[in-house]
């Protein structure tokens, strides 16, 4: 039985990617600290305009293009990371 090696990023790569996303969020949202649970619901600065800035920055940082359906749903650190992981395979 062959394991599907491409099912997800290796843990190391995922962690690295997540750190990049966290740094990016900190920078775009102008935050001093950032928690792993950060989302549009618990971060006042993450309004619809800043969400736009976040998406643009993510597209440039990871050289990806997100579809509108994804963009509207990418409103937390976790969801962002899972979308990026899916696209990076």
């Amino acid at each position: 039985m062959q394991a599907n090696e491409n099912a997800s990023l290796s843990t190391v790569n995922y962690k690295r990617m997540k750190e990049r996303v966290k740094d990016l969020l900190k920078s775009v949202l102008e935050l001093d600290t950032i928690s792993d649970e950060i989302s549009q619901y618990n971060c006042e600065r993450w309004d619809s305009l800043n969400h736009l800035n976040v998406i643009v920055a993510l597209e440039e940082e990871f050289d990806l293009s997100f579809e509108p359906e994804d963009i509207t749903s990418m409103n937390s650190l976790d969801i962002i990371c899972s979308k990026i992981e899916r696209l990076m395979q």
Binding site: E44, D47, S48, L49, L52, N53, V56, E59, E60, S65, E67, P68, I71
Partner: protein, 530 residues
């Protein structure tokens, strides 16, 4: 610098990190802000398949701008971007009406600036020209967030715009200090002699000629030219007097130091003689050692690099202009040193067709449709409660089932649809009213930012108040609940003579006695469909 920006599309990413406030879309109302330093006006053409609508949009911008200008705080600078189309649909390739309308609009901007010292025009095509159409437009973001310009261009935009602001503030250099050998001509005068230096029609002489012509043009525009060269003065004067190819002559040079002393002392002496600061000087010399010397000893002086090859002069001259010599407007002082220019007599005037804002509003042919909640619009209504932050009195967030719940409990739920001669904005307003006996409570009153600035909110509320009164309601209660985003509606209900029943930092509660309210009159500016 704090800016207030009038705009009709989403451009916030382009000013990220700056101290700015944004108007509503197409909203020209002024916010009282003591700390604001300057205004920016940046209107962009939308993507429309009907070119006639584009022409109407341009006329609309002109009316808005004229009306806005009269209301601005007089002495604060206003930076207006020219209009430029990045979308173009050529149905008829000989149909130049849009180009013509854009051109005339920009001409009107020029004459507006000519008459008003505090108004400066910045040519946005200076930015657009660096990009292809694919680079300029990201369609995804256009449809998602009404951004005609690709947000990935933000950083470049900021660099370019900062430079434009410097130019409008007229911070250009006043004086050039020039070397001679291998700078104004090819070769070394002392070694090659009068006949050997290169300034003629063949390469590399022709490149040096271009450079001299460029400097002559700077001189005509009021830049002072000086020479600092290690040469025998006698030899140089001979070049000026008899060399057939020399373009830059003694009469164009304000002062010179042609000797064998070090250049730093010479340049200091030039600055003193001209009585200008070192930071107004640009030093141009082909010799990197001399350039380094001046950079070290006189760091205030601008020392651009020099091209390795004469064929690179043109590109380099453009960058000199861009970095040091662009100016917004030549002052009288500048022109006194230069030739007279003929004035452009045929400038078009920027005018509003409308004497006041209400007539302008009427011209928009605004149609307001007020419709009750139904199984189709309920989706959009819920969405409006989720997304609307600014013009939202209570900021309650509801789902479709919440709204269905209200309907089942006989609440009054009305949506507002706004259409005008430019198109249909769709359902962009919402009111939710709870009625018990003869008392009504406005649970929700909100409008999408897209339709603000046209007093539509007033009409919507007035219509509902009249309807409530006709139903026999005697008292209308409402609340203002303060959030970070809705301060613009802090005093909204006061305008309709609601009385404050209770007030705290976070909230105000109001009531209006409808029996006493006899002068609620609908405007004839809008066509109301109910």
């Amino acid at each position: 610098m704090k800016y207030h920006i009038f705009r009709n599309h989403t451009i916030e990413p382009f000013f990220k990190g700056w101290d700015v406030s944004f108007s509503g879309y197409g909203d020209i109302s002024i916010i009282e802000d003591q700390k604001m330093d300057a205004y920016i006006w940046w209107y962009q053409l939308p993507y429309k398949v009907n070119n006639d609508i584009i022409i109407k949009e341009i006329e609309n911008y002109e009316s808005l701008l004229s009306l806005a200008i009269t209301n601005l705080i007089a002495n604060k600078p206003v930076i207006i971007f020219t209009l430029q189309s990045i979308f173009k649909i050529d149905y008829i390739s000989s149909d130049y009406r849009i180009e013509k309308a854009i051109y005339e609009h920009n001409q009107k901007l020029e004459s507006l600036a000519a008459k008003n010292k505090h108004i400066k025009i910045v040519d946005i095509s200076g930015f657009y020209n660096h990009y292809s159409q694919e680079q300029l437009i990201d369609w995804k973001f256009y449809y998602l967030s009404q951004m005609p310009l690709n947000p990935k261009l933000s950083k470049d935009f900021q660099t370019w715009f900062n430079r434009q602001v410097e130019i409008t503030e007229m911070k250009r250099k006043k004086c050039v200090v020039l070397d001679l050998d291998n700078t104004l001509w090819g070769g070394i005068l002392g070694e090659d002699g009068l006949e050997g230096i290169k300034m003629g029609e063949s390469y590399p002489g022709n490149a040096y000629r271009s450079f001299q012509e460029y400097l002559l043009e700077l001189h005509r525009k009021g830049i002072i030219l000086t020479i600092c060269s290690k040469n025998n003065e006698k030899d140089v004067i001979e070049v000026w007097n008899i060399h057939p190819d020399i373009i830059l002559k003694k009469e164009h040079i304000t002062t010179y130091r042609i000797n064998w002393n070090n250049k730093a002392d010479n340049i200091k002496s030039i600055a003193e003689e001209l009585n200008i600061g070192l930071d107004s000087l640009v030093f141009i010399d082909d010799n990197p050692a001399e350039r380094e010397l001046i950079k070290q000893l006189l760091p205030e002086i601008a020392v651009p690099d020099f091209p390795n090859q004469p064929y690179d002069f043109s590109k380099w001259m453009d960058s000199l202009t861009y970095h040091y010599f662009s100016t917004y407007r030549l002052t009288e002082e500048d022109l006194a040193k230069t030739l007279q220019y003929k004035e452009n007599m045929t400038r078009k005037q920027m005018q509003s067709e409308f004497s006041d804002f209400d007539s302008y509003l009427k011209s928009l042919e605004i149609e307001l449709t007020i419709e009750p909640a139904n199984e189709i619009n309920i989706v959009r209504m819920a969405q409006l409660t989720q997304k609307t932050n600014q013009f939202n009195l209570t900021t309650h967030r509801y789902t479709e089932s919440d709204i269905q719940n209200f309907i089942d409990n006989n609440f009054w739920i009305y949506g507002l649809r706004v259409k005008d001669k430019f198109g249909d904005n769709g359902l962009t307003g919402l009111i939710i009213i709870e009625i018990e006996n003869n008392q009504a409570y406005i649970n929700t009153f909100l409008l999408s930012c897209r339709i603000l600035g046209r007093k539509i909110e007033d009409e919507f509320l007035k219509y509902m108040l009249i309807k409530l009164k006709n139903t026999g309601v005697e008292v209308v209660k409402s609340d203002y609940i303060k959030t970070l985003k809705n301060s613009q509606v802090e005093n909204f209900y006061e305008r309709f003579h609601f009385e404050i029943d209770a007030s705290s930092d976070q909230q105000k509660s109001y009531s209006l006695n409808l029996k006493k309210a006899n002068n609620i009159v609908l405007s004839n500016t809008y066509k109301l469909i109910t």
